[in-house]
Symmetry: none
Subunit: 210 residues, 4 copies
Amino acid sequence: MYTKFLQLNVEKQNRIINASLKVFSESNYKDASTDDIVKEADISKGALFYYFKNKKILYEFIFDYVVKYLTNEVLNTVDLNELDLLIRLKQILLYKLSILNKYPDMIQFVLRINHENSDEIGFDILSKSKEINEKVYGILFNNIDTSKFRDDINIELAINSIIWSSEGYSNIHLKEMKYKKIDNSYIISLIDQFNRYLDLFKTCFYKGEN
Amino acid sequence: MYTKFLQLNVEKQNRIINASLKVFSESNYKDASTDDIVKEADISKGALFYYFKNKKILYEFIFDYVVKYLTNEVLNTVDLNELDLLIRLKQILLYKLSILNKYPDMIQFVLRINHENSDEIGFDILSKSKEINEKVYGILFNNIDTSKFRDDINIELAINSIIWSSEGYSNIHLKEMKYKKIDNSYIISLIDQFNRYLDLFKTCFYKGEN
Amino acid sequence: MYTKFLQLNVEKQNRIINASLKVFSESNYKDASTDDIVKEADISKGALFYYFKNKKILYEFIFDYVVKYLTNEVLNTVDLNELDLLIRLKQILLYKLSILNKYPDMIQFVLRINHENSDEIGFDILSKSKEINEKVYGILFNNIDTSKFRDDINIELAINSIIWSSEGYSNIHLKEMKYKKIDNSYIISLIDQFNRYLDLFKTCFYKGEN
Amino acid sequence: MYTKFLQLNVEKQNRIINASLKVFSESNYKDASTDDIVKEADISKGALFYYFKNKKILYEFIFDYVVKYLTNEVLNTVDLNELDLLIRLKQILLYKLSILNKYPDMIQFVLRINHENSDEIGFDILSKSKEINEKVYGILFNNIDTSKFRDDINIELAINSIIWSSEGYSNIHLKEMKYKKIDNSYIISLIDQFNRYLDLFKTCFYKGEN
DNA sequence: GATGAATGAGTTTTCATTCAT
DNA sequence: TATGAATGAAAACTCATTCAT
C-alpha cells in the first residue's frame, strides 16, 4: 500500500507526516492543498504522488497513523491498573499534553474529523472514528472503582459528569495552547488548576472518608 | 454594506438567508457553492453578487445574522431574573432545542465555525466568535446565586464544572438529533434525563437544606 | 444533456464542433487537448466546460453529431431506388467528396475511431461504431440488383470485390486531398478516373448485354 | 545512434524490442508508457534511457526495426520469379499470416502508424511510411505478367482493382484474428475462401484460355 | 553499467466573480 | 435591477527524463 513511503528514511517520513498533519488540520480534506503539503515537507510534487497514489490514500494513511499513535500512546501513558477515576483523569490530561507536545497539530486534526464529508474522503470516516472513540472510551472508563462514590447518587451519571467536566477543562486549555508559547511553568499551572478540579470532584462525589 | 439586500422584500431576504444557512452548514466556507445557494434561493447568479459584493461579504452577513438571532433568542427564552444555576441550565437546554426546531441548520453552522480557516473568510472569525461566546457566557452565568452552593468548595470551579457537564450532555444529544427523527416523546425523555443530572448536581454541589 | 451548448448561436456551435473535430482527428482522445480546442474555437477554458460537463461528454457529443450527420447525408446523397451497384458506388464517392468539402476533418475522425481505447472514452465506442457501420453498409448494399451480374460467377464475392476496389480507390485519393488544394478540375479528374474503374467492373462482372 | 543498445546480448535486445512492440501497438506514441515497457522487458527505468536517449529515439529504432523485418521477410516469403498476380497475392496473404504468427503485435503497430502525429514523434513518420509503402508495392507488383489479362480492359486498372480487393479481404480477417483464437482449421478456411476470390478474378479479368 | 527515486511541466476540471444585455 | 454566459486562476495528478549511488 504505502511501500514506497515506508522505504524512506524516518526523518523524511516524519517531515511528510508532520506537513500533512499541519495542512489537513488547518483545512478540511478538500481544501487541503497537496501543493502546501509538498512545500511544507520540502519535497517535489511528483514525489508525494510517488509515495502515495493519490490524496485519498495519503489521507487514509495519516488517519490510520493517528489512530495507531493515539491508541499506542494511551496504553503507554495511562495505567489501567489504577482504578480511581480522578487519578486516571489526571493521567489522561498528561497523555493529551504529551500528544500536543510531540504532534502539535494532531489533536486539531482529530477534532476536524467530525466535520469531514465521507463522500469525498472515500471511506466512512465518521463511523470509523466513532467506533474507535467508543473503543477507547470503553478501555479508559470501563473498570473504574465505583466503591469510592457516595451511596446517595447515581454513579453512572456522576462518572459522566466528572468526565465531561474534565474534558471541558482540557478542551479550553488545549485550544489556547495552539496559539501560545508553551513553557513548563504554564504546564505546571495547568496541572495545578486541574488538581483543584479533581479535589472538588473528590469532595462532592466521593464518600467522606476518601 | 448590505443596502441592496436590505431593500429586498422580506420573503426574498428569508429565502436567501435560509439557502445560505443550509449550504454553509452542509459544507465549510470554501466548499460551499454559490451555485447551490442561488439554486436553493431560486435567484440568479448575478443577483446574489448584486446584493452581496462577494462570497465573503455574504458569509459575514449570515454570521452576523446568526449572532443577532441567537443573542436575541437567548434573552427571550432565558429568564435572567432566575438566579438558580440549575434552573437556568434547564432553560438553556430548552433554548437550544427551540433553535434546533426553528433553524435546524443553525447549530450545525455555529459548530462549524471553530473549524473555519480565517485566512479564507477574510475576517478573524475565530476571535470574533470567541468574543461573542464570552459575552453570552457573561450574560448567562454572571449573576448566578452562589449562596446555594456548599461552603466547603470553590464555587467558581463548581459552576464551571456544572456548566461543562451540562454542555457535555447536550452536545451528545444535539448531535444525535441531526440524524434521528425528533418527536415529542424523544424530547421529553431528553429533558427527563437532564433533570436527573440536575438532581445530581443539587445533591453534590448545593447545601443540604436546598 | 448538451442544453447549454445547443442554446448557442449556430456560428459558435460550428466553431466548437469544427475545433473539436480538428483536434480529435489529429490526436486520439486522451492526447487531444481541451486547451487546443478552446484556442481553435476561440472560447475560454471555462466556457467549454460550461457547455459540456467534461471531455468525455464533449467527445460523445461530437461522435453522435458525426454519426447523425453522416447517416443523414447518406440518405440525402445516395438514391436508394437506384439498384445498380456501380451507379450507387459513384453516388457514394460523391457523398464522400461532399463530406470532405464541408467537414475536412470528419473522415479522419472516423478513421481514428478504430484506434481509440474504450476504457478511457467511457462508452464502448468500438462496438457502437461497428454497429453503425454494419447498419450503413446494410442500407447501402442490401438491395442491389443482382440480375445484371454474369451467371458464371459468385455474385456475393463479386459485389464484395467491387466494393473493396471502390474503397481502395477512394481511400487513396481522399487521403491525398487532406494535403492538397482541392479545386474543381482535380475533382473532375478524380471522378473521370473513377468512371474508368466502373467501366472495368461493368465489362468484367456484368452480363454482356448491359 | 543506438550503440549502447546494440552492445547488449541478443536475448535482452529481443526482450526490449518485444516489450516496445507490445506497448506501442496497444497505445499510440504518446500514451505508450515507458514504465510499461520497462516492466514488460524487465529492465530498469534508467537502463532504457541509457540504451536510448529518449522515447523518440526508441520509437524510431522500433520503427526502423519493423521496416527492416517486413522488407526482409517479404523477400523470403514471396517468390518474385512468379509473375502471376493471383499466385503472388496468395503468397502475400501467407506472408501476412506468417508475420501475425511470429510478431502478433507488429501488424497492429504498422496499422497504427497512419494515425500517429508526426509533431510528437519528431520525424515525418507518415511520409517515411508512405515512401516505404511505395517501394514495397513497387517490388511486389512491378513485374506482373500482364499477358494473362483480357485484351478488352485497362490492365493497370484491373491490377489495382484486384490488389484492393485482396487487401479488403485480408484487412477484415486479420483484424478479426486479433480477437479470435487462431487455429489451423481457421487458417485453412481463410485461405480456401481467398482462393474463391482468386478464381473469381481469373474468370473475370483473365483471358478465357487461362 | 545499472538502478529507481525524484523532478516539474503539462493536463483536465472547478467555481467565484464579471459584464453585456 | 436582474440575468446567466463567460472568464481564468488554481488544484490534483501524470510521466518522460535525470542523476546520485
